[in-house]
């Protein structure tokens, strides 16, 4: 075997995130970002949402969504920077910024959801 590359792991996260993002994010974003603020659909009240977000299953779901979507972003954005701007010589910096950002966001999501009350 060749040197064990980490690329398969990053790609697996990217793909899982891509699937998650494709299936789930459009409806979430449509409701939260457009339909509720613009009053197309009456927004659910604070009490209901707070109750929903307090139960463990939705919290696990939200954590997975944040975690995978962020690693999806990190992987794609890293290659977009390489190819789109031809800055592959900044390889290490880009790598650290992208996956570092994803790890930071994931930890933050974990912190917020763990301490949700």
């Amino acid at each position: 075997m060749a040197k064990q590359s980490n690329e398969p792991i990053l790609w697996a996260l990217f793909s899982a995130g891509g699937v998650f993002a494709a299936f789930a994010i459009p409806v979430h974003l449509f409701l939260l970002g457009l339909a509720f603020p613009l009053g197309w659909i009456p927004a659910p009240g604070y009490e209901y949402l707070h109750g929903l977000f307090s139960s463990p299953l939705p919290r696990i779901y939200l954590f997975a969504l944040c975690f995978l979507a962020l690693f999806h972003w990190a992987h794609r954005f890293r290659y977009t920077l390489y190819d789109g701007l031809q800055i592959k010589h900044l390889n290490e910096v880009i790598f650290v910024c992208c996956y570092g950002g994803a790890i930071f966001g994931t930890v933050l999501a974990g912190y917020l959801l763990w301490n949700f009350h």
Partner: protein
């Protein structure tokens, strides 16, 4: 006098020029003429110094690939009349992303080395004696790799691939598709050897699935699909070797057949 069409051809002579220029020729526009016919007409009747590769004229040899109006095409399968309408000339240029040796001829040694590096031939652990007969294969087994076996090495996919253009160490669409052609062949046992080359960054992981290689392929090989499918294979292998180091090998690819 028959109708004519202007063909604007890239010219570059390393002995004379520092960079390419273009030259315009007016050639007869016959309904059944392809771009290669125009080039041969120019070479035969107008300017014998125009230089390009070609051989079979029937989409099999893969040597007449060029950029026609900015798109990679087999010039033997690209009709002049499709470009006739608007009166502007048909632009013919050498395949993009390759160094130009002269006029429309590009340097392809890089691809040849890469192709060889993926061992595009049947690899057997133990070869049967000739007296034992053929390696049999069912139509279903043939169907798994047949699409990838249609590749004619015309390099249109490389000329369509910005990843190759940006970073020429990328092993590229055709070489990976041809590796898959043998990986998926029930008679082959070389998937593990090929993985050493394919599962590197210069192998499949450089690909960002632009997908243009598949769109320009004149033989419908779908190299983009081959690469994505191989990413999945390599990922499963990677996790397997992590979770079960003792079982690492080419089991995944063998079972895929």
């Amino acid at each position: 006098m028959a109708e004519t069409i202007s063909v604007e051809v890239a010219r570059y002579s390393p002995e004379r020029d520092t960079e390419p220029s273009s030259q315009r020729y007016d050639v007869p526009l016959h309904k059944d003429w392809v771009v290669l016919d125009a080039l041969n007409y120019i070479k035969d009747k107008m300017d014998g110094s125009l230089t390009f590769r070609w051989s079979c004229r029937m989409g099999i040899c893969g040597s007449c690939g060029m950029m026609v109006n900015g798109e990679p095409k087999l010039t033997c399968a690209t009709f002049l009349s499709d470009y006739a309408g608007d009166g502007s000339p048909v632009r013919v240029q050498p395949l993009r992303y390759f160094p130009v040796i002269r006029d429309l001829v590009v340097e392809i040694t890089d691809f040849m080395n890469k192709l060889q590096s993926v061992k595009p031939w049947l690899i057997r652990g133990d070869e049967k004696a000739v007296s034992e007969g053929e390696y049999l294969q069912t139509p279903e087994q043939l169907d798994r790799y047949k699409q990838f076996s249609m590749c004619i090495n015309c390099l249109l996919c490389y000329a369509a691939c910005p990843v190759y253009g940006l970073d020429p160490v990328f092993i590229g669409p055709a070489a990976i598709a041809l590796a898959q052609r043998y990986n998926m062949d029930s008679r082959d046992e070389g998937a593990g050897e090929r993985m050493d080359v394919l599962a590197q960054h210069e192998g499949i992981w450089g690909c960002t699935f632009v997908g243009e290689c598949t769109k320009v392929c004149p033989k419908h090989v779908d190299p983009a699909g081959a690469i994505q499918q191989y990413k999945l294979t390599a990922t499963i292998e990677r996790f397997k070797s992590f979770l079960m180091p003792w079982a690492a090998g080419n089991s995944e690819m063998e079972s895929a057949k």
